[in-house]
Symmetry: C2
Subunit: 745 residues, 2 copies
Amino acid sequence: MIFMPWSWVGRKRVSRHLISWTKWAGMTGMNTVSVSTSHDQALDAMLAPRSVAILGASAQLSKVNGRPLKFLLEKGYAGTIYPVNPKYSQIANLTCYPNVEALPTVPDLAVIAVPAKEVCAAIEALGRKGVRAAVVFSSGFGEMGVEGKEREAALLATARASGVLICGPNCLGLINAFDKVYATFSQYADGNTAPGPVGFVTQSGAFGTAIAALARQRGLGLGYFVNTGNEVDAGFADIMSRVVDDPRIEVAAGYLEGVKDGPGLVALAQHCLLIDKPLVLTKVGRLGAGVRAAASHTGSLAVEDDLFDSVARQYGIVRAHNEEQMLDIIEAFVYTRPPAGDRLGLVTQSGGAGVMMADRAEEVGLVVPRLTAQTEAKLSHIVPGFGASANPVDVTGQFVAEPAILRDSVLTLLADPEIDIGIVWLQLMAAHVDLLIELFSDLKKRSAKPFVVCWVAAPEEAVQGLHRAGIAVLRGAEPAVDAVAALVRHAAARRAWLAAKDQPLPKAKRPTLHINGLPQAGVVPTMQAVQWLVAAGVPMADIELAESEDAAVSAWQRLGGPVALKIESPAITHKTEAGGVRLNLSGEAAVRQAYRDIIQSARKYDPQAMLAGVTVQPMASGDIELVIGVKRDPTFGMMVMLGIGGILVEVLRDVVWRQAPFGVDEARRMLDELRMRAVFDGVRGRPPVDKQVLAVLLSSVSHLAEAMKERLLELDLNPVLMGEKGAVAVDCVMVLMGQRHSAVV
Amino acid sequence: MIFMPWSWVGRKRVSRHLISWTKWAGMTGMNTVSVSTSHDQALDAMLAPRSVAILGASAQLSKVNGRPLKFLLEKGYAGTIYPVNPKYSQIANLTCYPNVEALPTVPDLAVIAVPAKEVCAAIEALGRKGVRAAVVFSSGFGEMGVEGKEREAALLATARASGVLICGPNCLGLINAFDKVYATFSQYADGNTAPGPVGFVTQSGAFGTAIAALARQRGLGLGYFVNTGNEVDAGFADIMSRVVDDPRIEVAAGYLEGVKDGPGLVALAQHCLLIDKPLVLTKVGRLGAGVRAAASHTGSLAVEDDLFDSVARQYGIVRAHNEEQMLDIIEAFVYTRPPAGDRLGLVTQSGGAGVMMADRAEEVGLVVPRLTAQTEAKLSHIVPGFGASANPVDVTGQFVAEPAILRDSVLTLLADPEIDIGIVWLQLMAAHVDLLIELFSDLKKRSAKPFVVCWVAAPEEAVQGLHRAGIAVLRGAEPAVDAVAALVRHAAARRAWLAAKDQPLPKAKRPTLHINGLPQAGVVPTMQAVQWLVAAGVPMADIELAESEDAAVSAWQRLGGPVALKIESPAITHKTEAGGVRLNLSGEAAVRQAYRDIIQSARKYDPQAMLAGVTVQPMASGDIELVIGVKRDPTFGMMVMLGIGGILVEVLRDVVWRQAPFGVDEARRMLDELRMRAVFDGVRGRPPVDKQVLAVLLSSVSHLAEAMKERLLELDLNPVLMGEKGAVAVDCVMVLMGQRHSAVV
């Protein structure tokens, strides 16, 4: 039995999520088994410790190894603090212990602020003492060349042997602001760190600190701030899965430089969908140069970014382009209910702002609908004559004198059945802050639909007042639309995921494969590959293998009409290059000649190649040329690709990916993500193609990929032709691996 | 003589710019004629008045008609102020005059704050008094339906008859902060309005106020703030051309909702290039929905946004996506010298920030080069071992302890011959502001190359300190890269424009057209159009007109090889739809049959159509299918389009435009702006095409368009096929106008 959905989810995370799922099972009616593990206990000890030891604590409280103690004391940590350093007997009126052995109790968490070469010994001592979790500040590991990498491997081995879960090394540490845990030396902790509903986990210390500081500037409170550093042990997904289970956290925010643990990230994303806590990520390394730099920086295995992007869409991860956009989106999620759809209503005091937002909405896929005639009529009585009572509504600056204009306009717009969510744009208004806070608070109470405020150059007290009223405040027209688009997309992704979760994936025809009967590594003979594909429900063009000239002629006669002949050899994957393709052949003479030409060219191209003969296929045609493929990705496993073919795939890279397996509905969403999706609706007067047929094909390929995941390295269906008569895959190349990569999948 | 370059430049602007050009002639060695006009004197009176009358002035200084007086007094305007209102004899200790006639001298500028219906009378009175300029706050004009539009037309007629130049109506007025002129009621004037080197002109009052307030928040001083409102008379380009000539202004910034005066904008842009003052614009109305809303809002004629965008690129206008990006770009221009090229060096304290900036740089077309081996070696001795000494350079947080790390890294990077401009990224550092200001000031003095600082969550005093040192401070990694990209593109556009300015456009072959001999309005007979195109230097596929079946056969024989037959009729432009096209015909029988079929189909399609016969062409082929066209745009005149053809033009809209005429170098830049430009370099193993050939073709089309501009409505070359053998236009449709649209072009 090789069809094992979810089997690739690492044990560790399965247990982690079973716990979380149990917690929510009552809400969702799910039936799961409760399992508690030492790993989870260690995460609890790390993120909500009742006692903290600081190894290498300094009496100079401004130094890296003095700052955790300073913060814990200043901010009022209620647990027990154990400074550990043989140089002192007391620090800041606390007893300082010479070593771990001397500690009077077993602390939940240890902060390790000693030189790299002393870290392993410290971990061993902690293990002996029974400490379950440690934050390692020390640098000099994976980020420091070969020697550092060796030291890092030793650290992991020591941690596992000692039963100590590590955050780091080479990290700034962590903050749990609710419980006043400051196991950090980050300069972010220097200022006000009042907790809020955002859990923030960052791979980068410096960039993460910058983001945390920006969040504070905006009045967004971080409940957690965790820098995972080199992630030798506990990684981003691990730690975040514990953070989001804190009921005080409403939004999960992350900064990533690379994904080391694909299955963990996918499991985390699904967990977040289940418990309805949006996961908002900024991940750097979008392009080639970026990926190279990220690899050299963090030593992490950089995944191809478009795979990451597709997985994010598949599992409802909200991806932000950069730090400011991430904070805009978080602001929107913290204060705004999910919209029921994608139809945006705009109210502004400036026509231009309305235009800018309408433009941006169109660019990011939101709809700015016409309002109903009734609504427009009603608005025309509210809005001054030199304003606009259509969507975008322009109430003009007149509302300052008559606030009812703004209030009634927003209420009327949001009440329109064509509208799902609103943005209200205004600017400055330093003299009218109290009035506006009251007005918006009233609107929030009276409107059943969500809205955000876009307030350009907002006075600080306006932001604070609206936050108190539970209203998101964005700072610019385009960022506001982008944030609303994130709300809309997340709500849609969650609805789709919940719907798919409760129905098993439609039974696709699945080939009966016997793993022991599979051929050797390398290119699978075309006839065999086609057989499996057909068995899996993939519509393949008719094909016959001709092992002789005569056989080719017979095949042509059977197939009827003009045919294509292609060389068949496990050694030749680039058939055209090898002179191994002849198209549009009619008549016996042409077929015979083509057979001879092909065999001759192939022998010349590669004299060593085993030639199995020539495949014979009827000529196929279609309006749209697609490429569908499967790639085995080291991070995310079996990934299915859809691209628009011909010259376009190479030049425009208009391709989308999904993790296998997936259902037909998910496949439909793939089509909608292609930039050139308009071709499916028929261009130049051609009729639209049947998207459902294509979606079924993609889903079938995904099931085949899942079924073959222990051996499949690569599958390429190119071209897949689509026309009025449906879809047909004309050519295929399937490549198997030699042995199971159990470490990868 | 119908070839009159620049003749379309409105008189008004020509004179305006001749003045400016004269001023700069000494610098550039140009030889121009000095002309001063009353229009320019009126602009001077409007923007730098030595005396201001306020018609409708109120003693309630917080009201719209009281605020200009309040601001003038509070901020210390040194000129004379004349309140005018029969209700008062004194306001704020100033004599208040009952009417314009009673004023003791002729004021330079009048602010009109009276109801709409009284404005015309006021303008007449001002005209009689000899006042040359007025700012009209009053609303109730073009923005208020049919009646308002009529009132606006009357206002313009009155203004012209009275010799008064108007800013407005329906505007917030203007500020000249250098000379403390506050002819405005904008809430922006409520705060600190200390002048700076930015001249800001905005069509929208509310959005413009928001932008001005944001500029103030960033410490960017506005020397001018002008809201042009309905632009009944003086428009954006008009007013900005006066603003940029103020030597205290270094950067021109504008917010547009529509372009009413295309030639004026182009002239302004060229003037700005000449005097080296960047013109940075935000224009809303990018997309369909947006354009509709803009039209309903401002009543201005919305131009197709992609034309605007292309014209901006052609004339070095820097277009910002939104208000924040505009301010980022302005910040960069105010403090940064133009870079010599597009090669970006990055220094950060966070690897992730380096990756994010490298990604963004690639996306916006900048190069992040490898450093020379010497530079990398030098950096490896400066940067800590856990940092990165390649570009992007990661100095790590260690520089806080050892500032020399940062200073020496930046100097070393910028000294590399591969680098043109640098970005230094850092965050927070509240405790090290003074040290860093000193460090960057020192860098600024010691580096010959420009750099900007990207300081995330920067303390306010850091921004102020760096501004004092003449250093731009950006707030985020991506915005910093975008701003640098604007510097790079502007510098390149200016170099290209200056180079082109000094050499006359290469003499293209130009058809000898006699305007009186041109055919009637409508579709030009294909043979005639081809003749003109060939005469203009456009390579056209061979073509013959066959007026009979026999003639078609002879043509086929002469041309040799397979041919295409197409219906020729002035009434039929959609030939395929009319069944009027037969391709790939070989042999006499096939040609005869095709001729008969085509004529029959065409008669059936349109029994009334005059059928001139059938054109006969050899079949053409190429690797790339292009569309080249000319469109007569009401705003920008003759515009030449290049698009990548086939299904792509419709689905992807990968097209670029240029205003005709233009040279070959400019045409080369068009090619580089296509998203699919990679196809020119050869895809799927095809050889690259000769871009120069295509550029010459485009330039030739632009000269033809210019030569025919009095009559040409539309020209469509589709397809133009490109391959190894060069380019050939296969089909053409040329349409003429019935009469000269002198009002338009």
